[in-house]
Amino acid sequence: MIPLSHSLAIAALLFVLGLAVVLLRRELLFILIGLEVMLNGVALTAIAAGQYWGNADGQVLVIMLMTVTAAEVVVALILVWLAYDHYKAVRVETLTHLKDETERSSS
């Protein structure tokens, strides 16, 4: 049987990999993929821990996680599609209209 620490290490690696994708890639779709990879790291942790402790909570958590994140990604994908539709934006640099205004305007 694989010891818990091995699976936890792999899961942590997966999480960090996803984190790196989110932080480094500039394309919206890749950022969403990175988020999914992070969540898969979480799922692996929960499954390994569930097997280690011998109860079902880990599996319950993973099933909830898959359902809920699927819903989350669906809404996020709709937003990404809307951004492409309205602004032809696939990269985050094109989405920088909202920013601080500290100059006094006189309207």
Partner: protein, 467 residues
Amino acid sequence: MPFAELINLIPYLLPTTGGLVILMLGIWPKRVSIRLLSSATLVFLLLGAAATLLWQVPGAVGSMLVIDDLSRVFTLFFMLGAAAIVMLSFGHVPIRNELQEEYLSLILFATLGMALLVSSNNLISAFLGLEILAVTLYALIAWQPTRYGAIEGGIKYAVLAGFATAFFLYGVALVYASSGTLDLTELNTVASDESLLPVAITLILVGIGFKVALVPFHMWAPDIYQAAPSPITALFASFSKAATIVFLIRLLCLQLPSLWEALLPLLWGLALISMIVGNLLALNQQNLKRLLAYSSIAHLGYILVALAAGTAQGRDAAIYYAVTLAIMNLGAFAVIVALTRREQDRENLADYRGLGRRYPMLGLAMGIYLLALAGLPPTAGFMAKLLAFGAAVEAGNMMLAIAAVLNTALAFFYYLRVMMEFYSEQETSLNTMPPTQGTLIVIIISIALVIGLGIFPQWLLGSLQLP
């Protein structure tokens, strides 16, 4: 399932069925007017609020939800708050014509998420509540996609909330890996002898920090405040933040006191930088919604000042502060809704110039909210700061209390700057729409609460019998 548990479930079932019923009415062959749909939504929310009074305290639903005074007060608060948001949306001219059944059912589902979050006794149900709330908020922020910045705001919130969820869930999974349970009550019994657990709770804290916009996880907040329609900004600036804070309090203070002790230095640091950075960024802000976003960041810092005290007094102060902050923010955004222009919200402070003189009632209301946010007596804002900083002093956190008081003084500057614009001699040439009755009712009730809770804080604190 015993009958008593079924009664306990009613406040969660009502928003759920309400959301589905409203959606169904949308595909009814005959067109149902939006006024009727809004009234139906209000009925569901008020029934939900009334159903919390049926609760036998203390109770539970399985081991997933715990029914106590804290969850009762806050579920009631969120139901009434969501009713206020529906009334504000109905009176908000730019989105009024695009108000549809989906919008109302999303608000009902968001209420469900908040109610689940504040009463969850298991990390799985907390995760569900948090996500129901977050996913409905993405959709609501991007409502009317052609509006300036709507899509951008929606995407930013979706990515950052997903990011926060990943951290929160990783924390949850590590809690499970280290202790073998997700039940908070059981977790308490194994909490003392685990080394992985503090790391796991810190990850959960990072996830919560993103959701409530603590520095250094605050970058999204001003953009989203600006991008969302004002009633929705009010929803997540007041109620969703309060729900998340209450969950944090339940997790740390009520269920895992030993970990609370261990994490006090972290809370201390987060409180200090949130206050300072929030206030400094707000100082020169010209956009009223962004200014309120930065001021909320600073206020979250004050709440953490109370939590960093590590005492029951600090915990009560934090709960009181969360309620007060929600009401003050709701009121301020209600005034922004009332003064909206036909196509879009007013953005810059200059657009509000002189409006306090033109509309004395609204000007007075905004004045009261701003002074409450700044912390002047006899408002609830003053009492909240007094309790929070008092708890910090009693716990011996002198440095933090002094920093908090200095920050309050700093914050006066930008609140007064908004007041100066409101009561300026010159007047903006931009015309406004007459506010609807619903908006005025929300404004008046929030004023009554801000002043009432400030004079009688025991109204709230007395109804919470915490150990």
